[in-house]
Symmetry: C2
Subunit: 350 residues, 2 copies
Amino acid sequence: MGRSPTIRDVARRAGVAVSTASLALNGRPYVSKETRFKVLQAAEELGYHPHSLAKNLADGRTRNLGLITPISLDHLFGSAGFFANLLSGMHRAAADHGYNLSLHIADSEEEAAACIRSLLRGRSADGLIITNPTSSCPYLEDLGRHRVPFVFIGRPLAKAPYVDNDNVEACRLAVRHLIDQGHLRIAFLNGPERFTFCADRLLGYRIALKEAGLPYDERLVWRSELVEAAAYSTVKELAPRKGFTALFAASDVQAVGAIRALRELGRQVPQDVAIACVNNSELAQHFIPPLTTVDLHEYWLGHWAAKRLVQLIQGERAHHPILIPGELVVRESSKGGDGGGKASCKPKES
Amino acid sequence: MGRSPTIRDVARRAGVAVSTASLALNGRPYVSKETRFKVLQAAEELGYHPHSLAKNLADGRTRNLGLITPISLDHLFGSAGFFANLLSGMHRAAADHGYNLSLHIADSEEEAAACIRSLLRGRSADGLIITNPTSSCPYLEDLGRHRVPFVFIGRPLAKAPYVDNDNVEACRLAVRHLIDQGHLRIAFLNGPERFTFCADRLLGYRIALKEAGLPYDERLVWRSELVEAAAYSTVKELAPRKGFTALFAASDVQAVGAIRALRELGRQVPQDVAIACVNNSELAQHFIPPLTTVDLHEYWLGHWAAKRLVQLIQGERAHHPILIPGELVVRESSKGGDGGGKASCKPKES
DNA sequence: CACTACCATCGAACCGGTTCGATCGGATAT
DNA sequence: ATATCCGATCGAACCGGTTCGATGGTAGTG
C-alpha cells in the first residue's frame, strides 16, 4: 500500500484543478453540482481524508486549545475528582466546536510560564485555558504580546477573562442552610488567603450571616491549608476556645479533618456540631456521616471555560466573567433531611 | 508589529541560504562554527522561534500523543483520582520526550472508535494511548491498517502492547496481609467479570490463599459493580450467610459500601471484620476507619504508558507488557499497625 | 600534480493543504 | 449587437519549515 492519497490525487482523478477540488471538498460556493459530485466521488473512491497538519498550516488555525494547569495535581483545589470532571466538561465543549484539547501540567508557576511561552512561540494553540491564576501570573505579559485569546479558570487578580464557580453564592447557600437549621454561632474553616476563591467564600459566609441578622465574629473564622491534616490541627487548636454549634468548611477534606478533631475533643457530628462544606466529592458522599456540601458542577465550569475561549477565538467581544452556580446537597452531617435545591447549569453572567 | 519572523528572515539576515539556516538552528553537522554563530545570532536578534505546525508538516511527525479514554469519567475505574494521577504521570513522560498530550474522552466505545478513526485519518498523532480496552475493541482493525503505534492501559483480550497495574501481585499482597493478621476465612468482593483487572485480582486472591494453604471457597467470592451502592446491597444480601472474619474488596468504594452493609448487620470494622482493598484514594485515606489498601501508583502507570508508546514510535520492538507494582498501605481497617512495604517504581517486565 | 574526499553551502523541491487573481463562457442589460 | 456581470474553473503562490542533489573549495593521498 502506497502513501495516503492527497488532494492532488483527488483532483487528478476527478479531472479538475486542485483548487477546485479544495472548494468542492469543503462545501464552498462557486462549484457546480456536477463538479462537486465528481470530486466527492473521486475522494470516496480513493479513500481520501485531509491531512490535518497541512490544513492547519495552510489556514493558520491550529484547532487546538491548550489547557495549562500550574499546580501539581494533588493540590488542585484539594481534589483530583474536581479536575477530572473539569476536564470532562472542557473536552466536550472543545470537541463540540471542532477543537482538540492539549494538556499541559506544570509543577510550579514558573514551569507553567515556560510552558505557555513555548506554546505561544510555537503558535501551537489557538487559545489557552489556564487554571489557578495567582497574583503573580508571570505569563501575562507574554499572553498580551502574542494576542492569543485565553481564559482563566478561577478569579484572577489581574483584569482578564475568566470562568469560575459562584463561590460567594455557593457559600451563602451552605451557611444559610446551617442557619435555617437553627444555628446561631457558625464557625468557618477557610482555606489560605492566597486563593481568590477563599476570599469569595468568606464573602458568601458573611453575606449569609448578615442576611440572617447574625453578627460576624472574626474569632470564628479560621484558616488552614486545603488538606485533611492541616484542617485537623487547626481545629484541634482553635475549636476548644469558642462556643459554636456548627462549622462550615471551605472544602470537604477540610471538613473531614475538622470532624476528626472535633471527635477527639468529644464533640460528635452532627449531634454536637453540624457540618457543611464545599466540593461534592466522593469523599463527601461516602464519609460517615455523609457530608452536606455544595456541588460545584465542575463539569460545567470546564464546559463554559472552553466555550468562552472559543467565543474569544471567533472574535466575539466576550467580556464579563462567567460564574457557575453551585448546588446545595443536604446530607446527614448537617442533621437535615435529604434532597436540596436544584440549580440550573445555565451560568449566570455577572 | 508585523508577522513573526520566519526562517527565511533569519537566513537573509545571516546572509546564508535557508537550508543552511535550518541546519544551523537544529544543531546539525556540516555547518561551520562561524556560520552557525551568525545564524543563531540573527535568530536571536529577530526573536525567531520555529513554527511548530510547519515543522511537523515538513518532517511528517506530529509530536503528539493521543490519549483516548472510552469511558465517561465517573466510571473510570470507579475513581476520578485514579485518572488524574494517571494523567499527571503520562504528561510528564510525554513532555520529557518532547511530545504533546492531546486528550480525547469518549462516552462509549463506539465514540472512542470514531475518535480514533478520525485521529488516524487526519494523521494527527504519532501514537495512541487507549485506556480501558474491552473485548470488542472495534477500533483494532483501523489501528492495524494505519500502522500507528499504540499502547493500552489495562490488559486487553486481544494480543496488543499494554501497560497495567500488577493486579495479581497487588491482590496477593493485600490478601496475604489479611492472612498474616490471622484470618482464615476471607471473603472477596470483586468487580464485574467484564473487566480484565477483576479477573487478575481474583487470581491474586487465589494465589495468596494457596500459598498459605487455605482452601478456596467459591461461596466467599462475590461480585458487584464498582460503586458504593452496589457493593452495599451485595454484601447486605450475601454476608449474613457465610462465616468470614475478613473481607477483601477490589476497590475502595466497594470497601466503603461493604463496611456500611456490615455495620447494619451488626459487625464492626475492624473488630469483627478486617477490611483490605485496592486503590489508595482520598476516600481510603480519610475514611473512618482508614482503609488498608494497595496503592496502585497510577502516576507510574501513566508514565510508563507514555514512555512505552514513545519507544514504539521510535521503532523499538517493545513487546512485553509492563506491569506496575502496587504498594500495600496498612491502616486501621485491617487492625494492623502502620507502615507497610515499599515497592519500587521500576516496573517489572513480564 | 592529478585524483579523490569531504566539508560547507546553496537552490530547488517537497510536505498537503488553502487562497488569490486571472480567464472563459453564457446570461442579462442596454 | 455590444457591453456588463457573474458563476465556474484554473494555475500559481503561499503557509514555514526540512531535505536532497549539486557545486565549489580545500586538504589529503599516491
